[in-house]
Amino acid sequence: MSVIARLPRYTDAVAVVERNDFVVSASTRRYGLLRLRLDQTTGAASVLPGQFAMLKPQDSYQPLLRRAMAYYRCDENSVEFIYQILGQGTQALARLKVGDPVDLLGPLGNTFDIAATGGGEGAEVLPEALLVAGGAGSPALFMLAEELLKAGVAIRLFLGGASRGDLCGLNDFTELLSADNVVTATMDGSHGEQGFVTAPLEKYLQARRGQPAMIYACGPDAMLHATSRLADRFDVPAQLSLESPMACGFGICVGCAVAVKAAIGPECPEGFVYKKVCTDGPVFWSRELHWL
């Protein structure tokens, strides 16, 4: 992935809550949109697509650890995150009120490889970017979509979730990409076709076999695994943004291990080593990964 992002350009700063709005899905899952105001030091401007931040309400130590959140949208002095309210960490975020201070460490991690979508030397057609997102994975793809558009790349988004309300950022994506380029799938059929989002993706790859394309995906492990199998079958390169429980987010705890292929040798009999999702990722080429 992009090298710049590997350099420790992150800062630990205090941001202030500008808004914290909630959505409840028919699947009864709850989501929050958190908008934070930053001062210059935190350089929101320098956030790259796919990067994330480690967040927690200031002076709150239960839960103890910060939570990783992908940047959804940024401008010079504010950033947005979309979080699904699951356990203690996101419940603590959900309690944040406008004006509350938040500890924000970021931007962290690498970024999606956009250049690769620019097409190889003398390629006739630019590859189309196929964005695949599930549930709370879609926020990680919004800035990517913006960048790809700027680069003049054709984009098609496959957005999946349990129900209509679980299609995080649907309206923003539709506005950005226009409805014809947004394909949705929900388990309850409340929006788009019923079932997994990988089904329409498969049909699409089937239909346009041979055409150059690049997959960018973020979502639950099962969705990413299915996506990588499709990528192999249709021989399309895929960049996957992974999740892992993280204690630090900046490379010091080695808790966020992901198995990556490596040359078989005395040091590495089984042909894989562990890399860190937080600093080596969160974006990995699907071909790099050794699915356990």
Partner: protein, 304 residues
């Protein structure tokens, strides 16, 4: 701040605030967030003679006031540390303390020998809380004789001071501390993590791939303070306090209990600046209380 300059086993430290093994990588990984020159010392991620791949995920799970980890001692190996990390680390004005482990006494010695080749190493910290495969997989730290044996063997080959890191998972920490002191340890650091476990009630599987893991963080602080206090009553060699230290108040509590220095561990994850705040806080404490040097506070707990 000279009021914080201390000496342990003949080594001079900027201050008594170190980062704990496994919670600051090889040190450099924190350079993006804190000024390493302002740290008293850096205990590296545990190093072994051969590189280790580590455990499968999940490796960590958060618990109330702490976390469980089962990293599996993933590390690049002592040789690679000396060649790839040490040259860069040496540029900083702080003390470098490789944390060393093995599954047999010979593996400890092998790792130490590799590190002896490196320049700019100031002391070793022995992680004896790992299974002794030759002795039925029981941890060296759990048995006074085994703990003494590995200490003695390492002391024979180490040209630098040896700090032995104690485990809290024992019935009598004082007895094991005495045995390790008698075996020639220059100092003790305590505590390592407490063995714990968490189960995901939905999958009914242990949350850690390794089943059990090490509990760390503020949750274990009272156990750590007790261990430091008990060890201080049992041995004469200096103690380095570890366990849930996140604030200057925490550090002072350990120093008063008997610690000559402290290590910040899990706090580095959720408050990367914690060690810097503690250094500043200790300096302020000395000036406010007219202490010429922080060492005057070590072990000054008054008995009820």
């Amino acid at each position: 701040m000279d009021s914080l300059a201390i000496e342990i086993a003949g080594v001079r430290f900027n201050n008594p605030v170190w980062t704990a093994s496994g919670t600051c990588g090889y040190g450099l990984d924190m350079a993006g967030l804190i000024d390493l020159n302002r740290l008293g010392g850096i205990c590296t991620k545990g190093l072994s003679a051969k590189p280790l791949r580590g455990n499968a995920p999940w490796r960590i799970v958060e618990t109330h006031g702490g976390m469980l980890n089962a990293i599996g001692l993933q590390n690049i190996g002592a040789r690679a540390f000396v060649e790839d990390k040490l040259p860069e680390l040496q540029k900083y004005y702080t003390r470098i303390i490789p944390n060393v482990f093995g599954y047999t006494v010979d593996e400890y010695i092998e790792a130490i020998r590799m590190l002896e080749d490196g320049d700019g190493i100031h002391a070793y910290e022995l992680n004896i809380s790992c299974p002794n495969v030759k002795a039925g997989g029981e941890s060296f730290a759990n048995d006074a004789r085994q703990a003494a044996a590995v200490t003695e063997a390492v002391k024979r080959v180490a040209s630098r001071p040896v700090i032995v890191k104690m485990s809290p998972n024992v019935t009598d920490i004082a007895a094991i501390s005495r045995a390790v002191e008698a075996a020639g340890a220059d100092a003790l650091s305590l505590i390592n993590t407490a063995v714990g476990m968490a189960i995901d009630i939905h999958t009914r599987r242990p949350r850690l791939a390794n089943v059990t893991g090490g509990l760390s963080g503020p949750a274990i602080k009272p156990i750590a303070v007790r261990c430091v206090f008990q060890a201080s009553r049992a041995v004469k060699i200096p103690l380095i306090g570890i366990g849930g230290i996140a604030t200057v108040e925490d550090a002072l509590e350990f120093i008063i209990a008997g610690a000559s220095a402290v290590q910040v561990g899990t706090a580095n994850f959720y408050d990367p600046a914690a060690s810097m705040k503690i250094v500043d806080g200790l300096g302020g404490y000395c000036s406010q209380n007219g202490l010429a040097n922080i060492s005057a506070l070590v072990g000054t707990v008054l008995m009820n």
